[in-house]
Each structure stands twice: as C-alpha cells, then as structure tokens.
C-alpha cells in the first residue's frame, strides 16, 4: 500500500511520454467516375502483433517471413475491421475490400506493415463513408488517420474509440473554410481597436465639412459614396498586409504593430476634431489599413496555420473580417444617416465621441509602448 501511495506522487510532473501513442495511417483514393477504390493502410507491427501472432517462433523478433505468413489472416481478420461505403445522394453501397499486396514501410516510431487495398464498389462514389474498428478493444487510445484523395481533393479524418465512423465529402474542406470565416467575423467583432478605427472614420461619412462646420450630407448617394470609399480603401490595404504577413513576407514585432494600431485610432479621432487638415478620409483608411492587416495576421497565426494549407484559411479569415466589417457598417451608417441632421449628432456625438476615442486610444498607445 505504501509503495502504491508514493508511486503516484511523481505522476504529474513527468507526464509527457516519449513514444508516440498508437496510430495507423490509411490512405484511400477514389473518383466519382470509377467504382474502384485503392488504398494503402500502414499498421505498426507492434499493433498488428496484438491481434495476430507475428512472432511465430517466439524469439522476440518479427521477421519478414513471419509477417508474410500472416497474410491470409491479415486479409480476413484485419480487413474486416474496416468498412468503406460508396455513397451518392440516393444510395449507399458497401465496397468489399481485398488485400492486393503486403509490404513494409518506415515511420518515425518504427516499422509498419503496409497493406495494399482494393475495394470494388457497386456504384461510383460521390463521397465515402468509412467505418473503422481496428485495435480499439486492445488499445482505446489508438487513432486511425485517414487521408482520402477523392478526385483531386484531399480530405482527412481521424478515427478514435469515440468516433469510429466518418463521412467524407467535400464538406470537410468547406467546413474548415467556414470555421476560418467564423474566426474572421469573431475577430473583427471582438477587436475593439479595429471597430473603433472604422467607426471613427465613418462618423463623418454622413456629413460634409463646409467652411468651419459640419453639414448633413445632401443625399443618400453621397453618404453611401463616402462610406464605400472608406470601407473599400481599408479593405484593400488590410487584405494586402494580412496576406503578406501570413505568407511570412512581412514580419514586424507585435509591440510595434499593436502600438501603431492604437496610434491609427487616435489619429482617426483627431482627424474628426480637426477635419480641415484631413480632407480625404479614404486616404487615411487606405494607409492605416496596412497596419490593421498586420494585426489581423497575428490572430490568424495564433489559430495555428501550417504552411501546407495557407490559401483557404487566409481567404476564409479575410472574408470573415469583411463580413464582420459590413455588419458594423450596416448597423452604424443607417443610424448615423438618420441622425445626421440633428444638432446632437453634429455638435455633440461626433466631437465628444471622437475625443473619448482619442483619449482611449492614447491610453492604449502608452500601455502598448510601455
């Protein structure tokens, strides 16, 4: 009992185990104009040995001859743990798998048996459903990593004890794309400094500066035109730097970017207070968009991009940012347009709002430079 107690003491400090847990690697290829599926399934010899006795002469060594000897058992017992269904919108049909060859392959954690597979489907699949039952009874921590090349798309999925069945359609790529759009929207909506910058620029979009005072924009067209020019300019440049920074072409220290963003907000607010010195707001949006794009890029980097698939996430994230931005514009501009003739909007809201934003951004700037 005593031994047991103290044995547990060091548990937490030394958690990370050095050998990787058990994974198998399943690659499948299918086309929507063919009824044949081909594939290769790499299973660690150590894992296979839990199901089939690979060390038949019990000398502690697994030899190629011993593995070959188990080929019929692999074809029956191992392949039966894997089911592939061809699916179309209307029907689902099982594609019986056969073992067409056996080789070995090397992975980071040792040698694997490479099972060559072929499935004959009654119908050509538009997408696939895969049911994976291998090894979970022996090792619930086992994962099956599937890479499917369907037509020219590559889809991936991970099977685990809790998720043994997966449908693979182009949706998977679409879903991850949607995820990045969501992240983009989320980010602009919670990124106060971006919202404030945009709003600051938009405050006077429904007004015109005439000889020392704000006047309501004479027409909806003019207010819309000013709004559009600002939003488009901001979008163009922040998309550009977002892409350049994500691709690693530009790299600036975060304190600099964050401080510069705070500065842009402050300058935007000052411009509202001293409008005669800043006649073209879209120019400001255009130039400062460059800086805000770098800020977006750092968020995208945090989401954990790999160099392998950078384009879709970048596009999705950017679209998300624009959607969020459009939402802000659609809420703010109509209200501002309706209020533009009021004394409150021209004399109180715009100056006092700009002043508060300037102070707030000033505080950020000092904090970020500190």
């Amino acid at each position: 009992m005593k031994r047991l107690i103290v044995c547990l003491l060091l548990v937490v400090s030394e958690l990370a185990l050095a050998h990787k847990p058990s994974d198998s690697y399943l690659q499948l290829e299918s086309r929507d104009d063919s009824t044949v599926i081909t594939g290769q399934w790499d299973i660690a010899l150590r894992d296979l040995n839990l199901i089939l006795p690979l060390d038949t002469n019990r000398d502690g060594l697994i030899m190629w001859g011993e593995l070959l000897g188990q080929q019929p058992a692999i074809a029956s017992q191992i392949l039966s743990t894997l089911t592939v269904n061809a699916m179309t919108d209307r029907q689902t049909a099982d594609c019986p798998l056969s073992l067409t060859g056996l080789q070995v392959s090397d992975h980071v954690d040792g040698r694997y048996a490479a099972l060559h597979l072929r499935g004959n489907c009654p119908i050509a699949p538009q997408f696939l459903e895969v049911d994976y039952q291998f090894l979970f009874a022996q090792d619930p921590e086992h994962h099956g990593l599937l890479k499917l090349r369907h037509n020219d798309d590559v889809l991936t999925a991970t099977f685990s004890d809790g998720q043994r069945q997966q449908q693979l359609s182009q949706d998977s790529v679409w879903q991850s794309f949607q995820g990045f759009i969501g992240q983009g929207i989320h980010h602009i909506l919670i990124g106060y400094d971006h919202i404030l910058f945009l709003l600051t620029l938009l405050f006077p979009a429904v007004l015109v500066w005439r000889t020392g005072g704000w006047q309501p924009a004479p027409s909806m067209t003019m207010a819309l035109g000013q709004t559009l020019s600002i939003v488009t300019a901001f979008t163009l440049t922040h998309s550009l730097t977002l892409a350049l920074a994500t691709l690693g072409i530009i790299s600036l220290p975060s304190w600099l970017v964050e401080s510069a963003i705070a500065a842009t907000v402050a300058i935007g607010a000052v411009a509202n207070l001293l409008p005669r010195f800043f006649p073209r707001r879209w120019v400001m949006a255009f130039v400062f968009g460059l800086i805000h794009g770098l800020g977006f890029a750092s968020v995208l980097a945090d989401l954990g991009l790999t160099s392998s698939g950078i384009f879709l996430p970048l596009l999705g994230f950017n679209i998300g940012v624009e959607l969020g931005q459009v939402a802000i514009v659609m809420v703010f501009v109509p209200i501002a347009y309706l209020m533009r003739q009021t004394h409150f909007y021209q004399r109180i809201f715009v100056p006092a709002g700009s002043l508060s934003i300037m102070v707030l951004a000033g505080v950020w700037l000092v904090e970020r430079l500190a």
Binding site: L9, V12, S13
Partner: protein
C-alpha cells in the same frame, strides 16, 4: 484587442548576419522535415524472409494476445504493471493497454480502480477528467490519502496553490506526517516560502525520515528542483545522485540531470548519457539542444528526428507535448513566434516552474507585452523565487 503578436527576429550581438543565415537554414530544415514527416513513407518489400523487421521487448512479447482479466483485482494488478511500464519506458501505448484492461470496470467506485484511472488520465493530460474523478472519490472516501496527494499535485501543476495546500492538509488524516510535510513543501517552494521548504526538506533528508524507496526518490527530486530554483547546480546534482540510488534509470531524473548539465554547458555529458535513448522524444529534444550547442555531427539528424515526432503527434491530433515543443522551437529551431504560441497554450494547462520559465523566455524573445505581463503577474502574485526567472527578468531587452 485579443492576444496577438508578430514574429520578431531578434539579432544578437554576436555575428548578426551569420546568426540570421543560420536561422533561415534552420527554418528550411524545419519546414522540410515537417513536410517529410507528413508525407507517407514509401512502402517496400524486404529482400529476404529472414530480414528482421522489428524487435519486441519482453513486455511486448508478453502482450501477445492480451487475455482478459477475470476480476477487478487482477485487472488492477495488470493495468498497474502497464502504467508502470509506460512510465519507465515512456511508452504511451501501454497506457492504452491499461485502459483496455480496466475497461470492464471503468465505472467501478472501488478506490484503487478510480485512482488508477485518474493516474492514466493525468498522464494523458486529461486534467479536468482526473480532477473530477478524484474529487468524486474523495467526497465519498476522504480517507483515501493517495487520492489527496494526487489532487494536490494536480492542483500544484495547474498553479492552483491554495487548492493544492488544502488537498495536502485533507490528506493528513490518512497519510504519514512525513508525506504531508513533503507535500506541503512542494507547494511552499513555489509560493514564496522556498527557504522554509528548503530547510524542512533538507532536515527530513538528513534525518533519513522519508520512507525508503519512492518517498525518498520524491524527496530528493524535490530537493534537486529546489536547488535548481536557488541557482545551486552542484547541490542539485548531489540530490539527483541520491534519488538515482533509489531509481537508477528513472526517466524524469535522467532528464532533470540533463537539464542541469545543459545549464552548466556540459553538452558532452548530455550526449553520452542520452545517446542510447534516441527512440525517446524527451531524450531527442535534449540531444538536439546539446548537439546544436556543441556542433555535434549528429545534431541535425536528432533535430530532424524530433521535428518528425512533433509532426506525427500533430497529425494524429494528440499534441500534448506543448512544453517540449515550445522549448525545441525556442532553443533549437529559433521559431520564436511558434514557441510563444505553444508556451501560451501550454500555460493554459500546466503552470510548473519549467512552464513559467518557457513562457517568460518566449515572451521576452518576442517582446510580447501581454505574455510578459501574464508571467510577471503570476511571479508576483505567488512570490515565486527562481534563479532562471530572475535572470530572464533582469536581462532587459
């Protein structure tokens, strides 16, 4: 604004241009090995039937066709062996076998089963599950001393020091006084009472009060860690030697010792000690660091091997080695931005001194004010004294 930072390459005083070239090379080595790791290896047909494909350890041989345990007591015994083997050999597969063995009794309320399940969860970094399991057990069976110890450790690792202290105290009813003192000492060392803890535990050691075996190993390991904290590598070395008398091949101690050597610049000792452990990731990490620092001919091979392990873990969606990854990126490949991201993600899970050191070091390297603040606040709030942290704080950029 949410957490954000942009990569900053910090040129150092010595040979800026050379340094940057090396960074670029490292980046491509890293990228290449990452891609190589993700690409499926090409299969081949061995030349002859006699070609040896794999060697099974005796434990693996014994697995053969795992037979089901007939009763709970047998299952616990068997699972315990697997978990111990997993720890000793650092082989995560055996945790899976332990789980499979326990699976018919996974809902059992018998304390040994619950404790073992919690231990497996801890090793798999499923901290919330483990906490819930332990708390539920202890609410019904507060006399389960080892449950309180495990909970105390879990809370300490996650930086919840008040909860950890409370758990040590609750365990006092069923644990030996010495065990409770060591438990408290492990928390005091990171909550502003390092000198007291150091004195108390040293006294326990001098008077030989710890139970022979694992409790001694625990005591000396803690003392070694405190010595590192105090910036006394030679004393740390002595305590590690004492702990190793009890557990000569203990992986945790081996790595602790290697880290002391790395700090002292004894790269050759690290390489000699770990060279035969290349199948272990934790060893590869330290070999990569020592190899690079000493210009060892195998350095890039170790580096690539480690990089492949990271890629494989990421691919399988089981990225629990964030602490090690961050360290590798910070100390070997110079991927500072990624190091910071991993150090931050790791910080959400684990808040031990090595995690804090990594957070502070990567925050410094990236000049990330938010992460710096995070680390500094934690240090101040808990009055943490640590030589390495102090060094990092004093080296103002």
């Amino acid at each position: 604004m949410t957490v954000s930072w942009i990569h900053r390459t910090r040129p150092t005083d010595r040979g800026t241009c050379h340094h940057r070239n090396r960074m670029v090379t490292r980046f491509f080595v890293a990228l290449f090995s990452l891609l190589a790791g993700l690409a499926g290896a090409a299969p081949y047909t061995p030349a002859s039937d006699d070609q040896v494909l794999a060697e099974l350890t005796p434990a693996e041989q014994a697995l053969g066709q795992p037979d089901r345990a007939d009763n709970e007591a047998d299952a616990i015994r068997k699972a315990r062996t697997y978990v111990d083997y997993a720890r000793q050999q650092e082989d995560a597969r055996f945790l899976g076998y332990a789980l499979a063995t326990l699976s018919p009794w996974s809902d059992s309320s018998s304390p040994p089963t619950v404790l073992l399940m919690a231990e497996i969860e801890l090793r798999q970094h499923q901290f919330d599950n483990a906490r819930a399991r332990l708390q539920s057990l202890l609410s019904k069976r507060p006399e389960q001393g080892q449950g309180w110890l495990m909970l105390a450790n879990l809370e300490r690792v996650q930086g919840r020091f008040d909860d950890a202290t409370h758990a040590c105290r609750r365990g006092a009813g069923s644990l030996s006084p010495v065990t409770v003192v060591i438990c408290q000492g492990s928390i005091q060392a990171v909550t502003g009472k390092l000198p007291q803890a150091w004195q108390t535990l040293n006294r326990l050691a001098e008077q030989g009060l710890a139970a022979p075996g694992n409790e001694q190993r625990w005591l000396y390991t803690l003392l070694a860690e405190m010595a590192i904290q105090k910036g006394l590598p030679n004393q740390a070395q002595r305590h590690i030697d004492m702990a190793r008398l009890v557990a000569p091949d203990d992986p945790y101690l081996t790595y602790l010792q290697s880290d002391v050597w790395l700090k002292q610049g004894h790269n050759d000792k690290v390489i000699t000690r770990l060279q035969h452990w290349q199948e272990r990731e934790n060893a590869l990490l330290r070999l990569s660091i020592a190899g690079q620092r000493s210009g060892h001919p195998d350095a890039s091979q170790w580096q690539q091997a480690y990089q492949k392990r990271i890629a494989a873990a990421r691919q399988s969606g089981r990225d629990i080695h964030l602490r090690e990854q961050a360290r590798f990126q910070l100390e070997v490949t110079g991927q500072y931005l990624a190091a910071l991201a991993n150090a931050r993600a790791n910080w959400d899970q684990q808040r031990e001194l090595p995690d804090l050191r990594l957070l502070l070091a990567s925050a410094r390297t990236n000049s990330d004010p938010e992460s710096l603040q995070l680390a500094t606040d934690f240090i101040q709030r808990h009055e943490i004294h640590d030589a390495t942290l102090q060094q990092l704080q004093e080296n103002q950029p």
